[in-house]
């Protein structure tokens, strides 16, 4: 699946990457996320981990395959 939104770093526990989508949904991202894209509009390709949960405990989880900057 592909999601677009703003890449954010959230300060919870050890810190986590999140994608805030246009409709306000916050997805917790796991895997290789390029830190330099923080704050940018990005396109995330990956797999939603259904029925899952995250250590971050802040919303749906996505296992990231690729993150690409938009614009």
């Amino acid at each position: 699946m592909i999601w677009t939104g703003t890449l954010k770093r959230v300060d919870l526990g050890a810190g986590a990457w999140m994608l805030e989508t246009g409709d306000g949904e916050k997805l917790t991202l796991f895997g290789d996320v390029p830190a330099e894209l923080k704050g940018r509009k990005v396109e995330v390709t990956g797999r939603e981990i259904r029925d899952g949960a995250s250590f971050v405990m802040a919303g749906p989880m996505v296992e990231v395959a690729r993150v690409r900057a938009l614009g």
Partner: protein
């Protein structure tokens, strides 16, 4: 009305008043557990929790039903019988197993995860404050003061003898965990051979529970004498699964954990639920984070009935902006709010570069171990696990009713400690002494017999509770004298022994009644013991402060009342014997 019937009425009134003082059951606000097995018709990994002790043949039978190969999850969990296997249709497989007697529960494997990014850093160095503790960063630890940790250090064995399992990313013995009691633990993450932390989260959580305190280094912890059990269920790379977590919980119970800290959460998992149910049934206190969604909706397993769900407050005492809230929150703990300067939770943890640092974290993950540490302190003072849970929730700092942000209120170890010996000690002391005087009066025994036995009965039921308030050295002997006799097994052998039914029964008064009670010189001791045990059990039944293991909860109260009655009858018999012997000598 005759004098005897007046005494009888007084006795009955005392018993009735004891029960009238008793609290109602704590009102819990937990959401309904979702239906399991609604998975779409897709393939995936299935986790099957077979009945405990299931054999290889049982596994093969289940494999035949499913038509796929299953393998035991880990050698460590064969007794707990967790198996996993790939199935082409998860929903169909769940339907097949629903009525299989060999299977306790089954579900698709959930993946839990965390982020491998570098930790936020807050290496700070401060001047040493005067007094206890002398840890230099204690000044930064507003969170310990907010929940009353100093009262725990001042008044208790500080968690000694209590095993707290940190089911997390593992624990690494960083500088400020040196000297802290820690078991070897185990890893349930494939590829991670030991329970060492490769992420930082678990070590930080462990520090809040039992960081070395007053050692002149770093930070302090809530229960520094407790024993940590590291259980690695979340990988440093970011993923875990419900199966690993369930196996980790089962393992922690098998290893003798008294408290399990779960600073993790997500969707509902019946495998994790089953493991927590088993832990709870064995008297293990399970504390779990409410989640960091910043909105209504508590994550699982924090929302479970069998877990204490913990929301998070910042230094101002109001709900942290990230904290989840709603049904499922039982209590609020200090988990930090870094929008305020210095508002996070400080502990020592690994720095991801082979070293360690004192890091400032925030999250309901951080609030949870404050509650787990407080539970360890209370358990180490001889309280039964259900009494500890009740004390934590009932004494939490709130307005007396439940609300969705703070549950029953904000954690207060200071207030909960009031439930351990002092408050109940004085009530039980008085109750037992009144019983001994009234029953002695009913049997017309002489005054000296009544006074001696009433004093002894008071100690048996309440301990010399005033010793708690004196600045005496914290020795086993002083603790034994300060505590009621029925708390001795817990003090000597560990909290798991607090609720053993044979000890919480009329057995000891009966045995002593027929031995020491047969002799005039020692009969007052046997009589005082019978009245003291009777009063303690009766008070425990009325207030819910005495838990009975091995019995269903519905029978525990009946057991206590029945045994209190037998103990009182033993006392009445001994008082009668005393009177007869007295009359015979005249």
């Amino acid at each position: 009305m005759t004098r005897r019937s007046l005494i009888g009425v007084a006795l009955a009134g005392t018993v009735a008043a004891t029960f009238a003082l008793g609290p109602d059951a704590i009102e819990r606000h937990k959401p309904a557990v979702p239906e399991v097995g609604s998975a779409a018709h897709r393939g995936g990994t299935l986790v099957v929790d077979l009945v405990d002790g299931a054999s290889e043949a049982d596994l093969q039978k289940v494999e035949a039903e499913l038509g796929v190969d299953l393998s035991w999850l880990s050698e460590l969990t064969v007794d707990e019988a967790l198996a996993v296997g790939e199935v082409p249709d998860l929903a169909a497989a769940l339907a097949v197993l629903r009525d299989e007697a060999l299977v306790e529960t089954a579900e698709p494997e959930l993946m839990l995860s965390l982020d491998p990014e570098e930790l936020s850093v807050a290496t700070v160095s401060e001047t040493l404050p005067d007094g206890y503790p002398n840890d230099p960063l204690y000044e930064k630890q507003w969170h310990l003061r907010a929940m009353g940790a100093p009262d725990g250090w001042a008044h208790s064995p500080r968690g000694k003898g209590v095993v707290v399992a940190v089911v997390d990313t593992g624990i690494t013995r960083v500088e400020d965990l040196e000297g802290v009691r820690m078991l070897e633990g185990a890893s349930f993450v494939p590829g991670a051979k030991t329970a060492a932390d490769d992420q930082g989260h678990g070590t930080h959580v462990a520090g809040t529970i039992a960081q070395a305190t007053n050692n002149g280094k770093g930070c302090a912890g809530v229960a520094p004498e407790a024993t940590l059990l590291p259980v690695k269920v979340l990988s440093g790379a970011g993923f875990g699964s419900s199966a690993w977590i369930a196996a980790g919980i089962d393992y922690a119970v098998d290893e003798g954990a008294d408290v399990i800290n779960l600073s993790l959460g997500g969707g509902y998992s019946s495998v994790i639920h089953n493991a927590i149910k088993k832990a709870h049934a064995k008297g293990v206190i399970v504390v779990a984070a409410a989640g960091n969604g910043g909105r209504r909706g508590v994550s699982w397993p924090g929302a479970l009935e069998e877990a204490i769900g913990v929301s998070s407050v910042g230094p101002s005492g109001s709900l942290a902006p990230y904290s989840s809230y709603g049904e499922g929150v039982d209590i609020a703990g200090p988990g930090g709010d870094k929008t305020k300067p210095g508002g996070g939770v400080f502990q020592d943890t690994i720095d991801g570069r082979g070293g360690h640092h004192y890091a400032e974290y925030q999250g309901t993950s951080m609030a949870t171990p404050h509650v787990a540490g407080a539970a360890a302190v209370l358990l180490s003072r001889g309280m039964a696990p259900d009494a500890v849970e009740r004390a934590l929730l009932e004494t939490a700092d709130g307005d007396g009713s439940w609300n969705e942000k703070y549950g029953h209120g904000k954690l207060s170890l200071t207030a909960a400690l009031g439930r351990s010996v002092g408050k109940h000690g004085s009530t039980r002391f008085a109750l037992a002494a009144v019983f001994a005087l009234l029953i002695g009066q009913l049997a017309s025994t002489n005054r000296s017999f009544q006074i001696k036995s009433a004093a002894f009965a008071g100690w048996v039921a309440g301990g010399l509770f005033l010793l708690e308030y004196l600045p005496l050295p914290d020795l086993l002997l002083t603790r034994l004298i300060a505590h009621p006799l029925l708390s001795w097994p817990a003090l000597l052998l560990g909290p798991g022994f607090a609720s053993f039914p044979l000890w919480l029964s009329a057995a000891l008064p009966a045995v002593v009644g027929f031995s020491l009670g047969a002799f005039r010189q020692t009969r007052w001791l046997a009589y005082g013991l019978a009245c003291g045990v009777g009063a303690h059990l009766l008070h425990g039944a009325a207030t819910g402060t005495v838990g009975v293991s091995l019995l269903p909860a519905s029978l525990a109260g009946l057991w206590l009342v029945a045994n209190a009655t037998v103990a009182m009858l033993v006392g009445l018999g001994l008082a009668g014997a005393e009177k007869l012997e007295e009359a015979g000598r005249r």
